[in-house]
Amino acid sequence: MEFAAHCPWLSDDGPDTDVVMSCRVRLARNLARFPFVGRADEAQRKELCNIARQVVLSSNLADGVIWVDLNHATARDRQLLVERHLISKNLAEANIPRAVAVSGDETLSVMVNEEDHLRMQLLAPGLRLVELVERINVVDDAIEAKVDYAFSPRWGYLTACPTNLGTGIRLSVMMHLPALKLTSEIDRVRRAAKDLHLAVRGYYGEGSESAGDFYQISNQVTLGSSEQDLLREFDQRVLPRIIEYEQHARRMLVEDNATLLDDRIHRALGTLRSARLLGAEEAMKLLSRLRLGVHLGRLPDLDIAAINRLLLQVQPAHLQTYVAADLNSEQLREARATLMRQTLQ
């Protein structure tokens, strides 16, 4: 599988990218006349893959769509897709007929036989949810023109788990909140998010820990409001408040605690430039500090694009692809440190 050195959604050319690294819209859809994936048998799961392949590849959803049969993909290729946020960890590790369609620019992916028959998503750098909701609606219409979705007027789009019921829409943003973490205010954000019925997850979504002060925040309620109302609430009411909160914390750090801030940033740079062994989690934490430093103008010689690229390259499958070798965990730590030293000198 060939991939560019960086992801388009990490390009840092979107609105509010200092706080919102990337955003994502996902729709959960199921085909009528089939059991949900968990209860379908092998033959039905294969048939679902075949139908999806035919529909997706003939619908002109995006330029250069490729179809990846995950049962024939290597473990490293599947992990690459996870690291690029194109498939979920669950789909990568499942042992059933499953697939993913990915657009040439990697902004669109359609997962087949995840928890639902179809999970289609669009990714973009920065905060561009309005645009993504419009585009995913077009993708959804194109697929719907060729299949019958499981739908009920009362419950909306029927999903395997009732937590996705109704619109089946999940709006999420990958937020970088290092200042709120440094000032120990992140727990207040978590509590407020819970009150607002938002889910706060780690870098790889469900079940993952937050690494490097990156948090995935998404709506939990999918039923009872239209897609536009859910979008308006999330995009115009909730997110601006969190963004402002982080930006305020950053301003306070610069004004009241510049020495502490510079200490953290330069220690991070020092470690990354000198370490001989680096774990993925530590690397992300240190890169997160650099990212903060660049956005606050404390590291004029570094650019964000390079840091975003490193955030991706420190992941195990990307690192192994970069050095073109299978590495054990110790070798990974060494390769990661070497990559940092070469890039950040």
Binding site: P35, A150, P153, T167, G224
Partner: protein, 183 residues
């Protein structure tokens, strides 16, 4: 105060349920064993959300009987759904509607009706579904505003969509709409 005894044996009751229907108060007291039999109590290490789920099931009068009845399409049971968190097929929503509705309301911040996009190929015309949704929305608003006369009129218009009713002009009422899946 002496602990209350189970309605079915002499053991102390650990589950107490009070319901008021038509002004009549009805109390149920069950020991752990009988409560488990009724599908209410679970071992104490059970996570709180599962305990709540069990409690919610017990609130519906038919819940206990229905909890064991599988989905006619895929054979999924409600008990199995509670273990896995996933339903078996689209028809499960109809098969377990009574038990699911309170759970869905809880998970969805009180919502229990779809208000978003409708597929064009939902097996019916766009117009009919749009009309039904509009009527349902107006009915909800009328009830919320305590405009009962208007609510009754809207309800009658919604009944016009019921295939069972005489002079019906359309196919189905929203809640009773047969689901798409026939697997």
């Amino acid at each position: 105060m002496n602990p209350l005894k189970c309605d079915y044996c002499d053991k102390p009751a650990v589950v107490h349920e009070v319901t008021v229907k038509n002004g009549q108060k009805n109390e149920i007291h069950l020991c752990e064993e009988h409560a488990q039999e009724a599908g209410v109590a679970l071992p104490s290490h059970q996570p709180i959300n599962q305990l709540l789920t069990q409690f919610v099931i017990s609130q519906t009068s038919k819940g206990k009987a229905m909890a064991k009845k599988p989905c006619p399409t895929c054979g999924m049971t409600y008990r199995r759904f509670r273990q896995t968190g996933n339903l078996g097929c689209p028809d499960c929503y109809q098969a377990f509607e009574e038990q699911l509705a309170p759970l869905i309301r809880r998970a969805q911040n009180g919502a229990d009706r779809h208000r978003g996009k409708t597929p064009r190929r939902a097996g019916a015309s766009d117009d009919r579904q749009l009309q039904i949704r509009q009527l349902v929305r107006e009915l909800d608003e009328a009830v919320a505003d305590e405009q009962y006369e208007r609510a009754a009129q809207l309800r009658d218009r919604l009944r016009g969509f019921d295939p069972q009713s005489p002079g019906s002009k359309a196919v189905a009422e929203p809640d009773n709409e047969p689901h798409q899946s026939k697997s």
